[in-house]
Every structure is written in structure tokens, then in C-alpha cells.
């Protein structure tokens, strides 16, 4: 596991245009490949889609993601229009998602339905729901934070 506090002092902003300032920052001077990928994915999604930007601006939560088959994770600290990505799991997380790499990618491929809820009845959705039921996808804090989870899923989704 990464040492969570190691890079807190050295925040590095993602490179971007003049309007890029302040959207995604990395707590470590050396973000892990996974941290860079998730931060890049969220930034691209938010910039391309006004509905995702609205969710991003409204979300304040600490989301941990741990990829069980590579023993790596990140903490995404959403702070109403700003995201800080930490290598490893930080304390005081609102929700923590634990799954294998394939499942984490599937979460990004969940479709979003007309009410803004993730779709669990198509092939990808059924796969995710099945993994949740079988314990291959664990989401700590899910029941108390369903709205946060739905909002994070909408921001993640590339569909």
C-alpha cells in the first residue's frame, strides 16, 4: 500500500489550457499510474459533459478505490468543483470501492438512465450487480451514501 501522507505537501496541477486551473490536482508529486488514469478520466468527463460538471461541482466526498488484484488504490477527495487525487487510501472515506481491475473498468462503463440512476439491467449493469451480490465488488459505506455513490458513478461513467 502507498504511504498516504507522503505527498500531501506537494500538489501538482494537471496540465491544461487557461481554463484548466484548479479542476484536478494530485497530492503526490509522483502520482501512481492508476491515480493519473482516474484523475485524467474524471477531468475529461467533466470537461466534456455539462451534466457531469454539475455533479462534480455539487459533490463533496472522500471516495476510496482499491484494486484488489494489483494491490493499488487511490482516494479521490471531491470538494465541490475541485478534485484532489491521493495515491493509496486516505482516512475518513465516505465510501470505499474494492474490486478487481476489470470490475473497476466496468463501473466506468455503467450506463446512466433517464433519472440519473445507473442502469443495472443491461449486460454491463448485470455484471456489476452480480459481482456486488457475490462479494467480488465491495462498497463500504454504500447504504448510508447512496446519493454520493450515484453521483460518483455518473461522473465516472464514459457512456
Amino acid at each position: 500500500m502507498h504511504e498516504p501522507g507522503a505527498g500531501r505537501m506537494a500538489r501538482r496541477e494537471v496540465e491544461g489550457g487557461a481554463d484548466a486551473a484548479g479542476l484536478v490536482v494530485y497530492a503526490s508529486q509522483e502520482p501512481s499510474a492508476f491515480a493519473g488514469m482516474l484523475g485524467g478520466l474524471i477531468e475529461a468527463n467533466v470537461r466534456a459533459n455539462p451534466a457531469k460538471k454539475k455533479d462534480f461541482d455539487a459533490l463533496a466526498a472522500r471516495v476510496g478505490i482499491w484494486v484488489t488484484d494489483i494491490d493499488e488504490g487511490v482516494t479521490l477527495v471531491f470538494d465541490a468543483g475541485r478534485l484532489t487525487v491521493y495515491n493509496g487510501l486516505e482516512p475518513r472515506r465516505t465510501i470505499t470501492i474494492r474490486a478487481e481491475a476489470d470490475t473497476v473498468m466496468s463501473l466506468s462503463n455503467l450506463k446512466i438512465g433517464p433519472l440519473g440512476l445507473p442502469v443495472y439491467y443491461d449486460e454491463v449493469g448485470r455484471g456489476v450487480a452480480l459481482k456486488l451480490m457475490r462479494g467480488k465488488l465491495r462498497i463500504d459505506g454504500m447504504l448510508a451514501n447512496v446519493q454520493v455513490l450515484n453521483r460518483v458513478t455518473r461522473i465516472f461513467s464514459v457512456q
Binding site: A33, M37, L41, E72, A101, N109
Partner: protein
């Protein structure tokens, strides 16, 4: 018959495998970007010069797959870069490509939401590489 890795014959067989795959055809529906694989040199593994695999992929079909220079591959819309031995691990299923990318063992350049949307297609493409019988330069 086994073909030399990253040779013209290998590229042809790889293209044939991709075009034979119904899974790829369906998963890559709508894909319209070029993909370059940069295979970095590892002289101690008998792979002395970097090479590029340039793939013209369109709507579930491999229109062309050819071998070029690393610079040719780097001009593609999506570029995946790794040393020779990592690509060998991917093609022999020792390393899962998705995990490799999350771990930074395979370096990806390109629009992330697009590549994530086509995860299944890229996984099937990896399967296709593993179906090509290969003569590895470090095993000669």
C-alpha cells in the same frame, strides 16, 4: 507456423485474427481511431531496435495492421508504449493489459474516456495477439 514477433508476417496474422473475431467486431462497433503500439528495444533480449505496430481500425474491422518505426506508431490517435518483454508478457497472457495500464507497465496516450468505453474491444484485441504463434527473439 510461428512467425517472428513484430514482423510483417506477424502483422498479417494478427490482422487476420482480429478480423476473424466476432467478439471484436461487436465490441469495437463505432471505433474510428488509429492505434499505435510502440515496442521499445531491449538489446539484451535480442530485440535491438524499437518498432511500431500501426493499426488502422474502423468500426469493428482491422483495415490495416503494419510494422513501422516507433515514430510511425507515435503518430496514431492512441499510443500504447512498453518494452519488448512487457509486450511478450501481454501476448503470452502473463500480464493482463488492463492491469498493465493501471499499473503503468503499459503507458497509454490518448483520450481516456474513449479507450475506457472500448475496454472489451481492447481485451479481445489482446486475445487475438495471443492466438498468433510467435517465434520470440530472446528464445532463438
Amino acid at each position: 507456423m510461428a512467425v517472428k514477433f513484430a514482423s510483417d508476417d506477424w502483422a498479417k496474422q494478427f490482422k487476420d485474427e482480429v478480423n476473424k473475431s466476432n467478439v471484436y467486431k461487436s465490441a469495437a462497433k463505432g471505433w474510428k481511431w488509429t492505434v499505435g503500439l510502440v515496442v521499445e528495444a531491449e538489446p539484451d533480449k535480442n530485440f535491438p531496435e524499437s518498432r511500431g505496430v500501426v493499426m488502422d481500425l474502423f468500426d469493428g474491422e482491422a483495415r490495416d495492421i503494419k510494422i513501422g518505426s516507433a515514430a510511425d506508431a507515435q503518430r496514431c490517435d492512441f499510443v500504447i508504449t512498453a518494452p519488448y518483454s512487457r509486450w511478450k508478457q501481454v501476448a503470452t497472457k502473463e500480464l493482463d493489459a488492463t492491469k498493465g495500464m493501471l499499473q503503468g507497465k503499459l503507458k497509454l496516450k490518448g483520450d481516456l474516456p474513449t479507450i475506457v468505453r472500448y475496454t472489451k474491444a481492447s481485451q479481445e484485441m489482446t486475445e487475438c495477439t495471443s492466438r498468433v504463434p510467435v517465434e520470440w527473439p530472446d528464445e532463438r
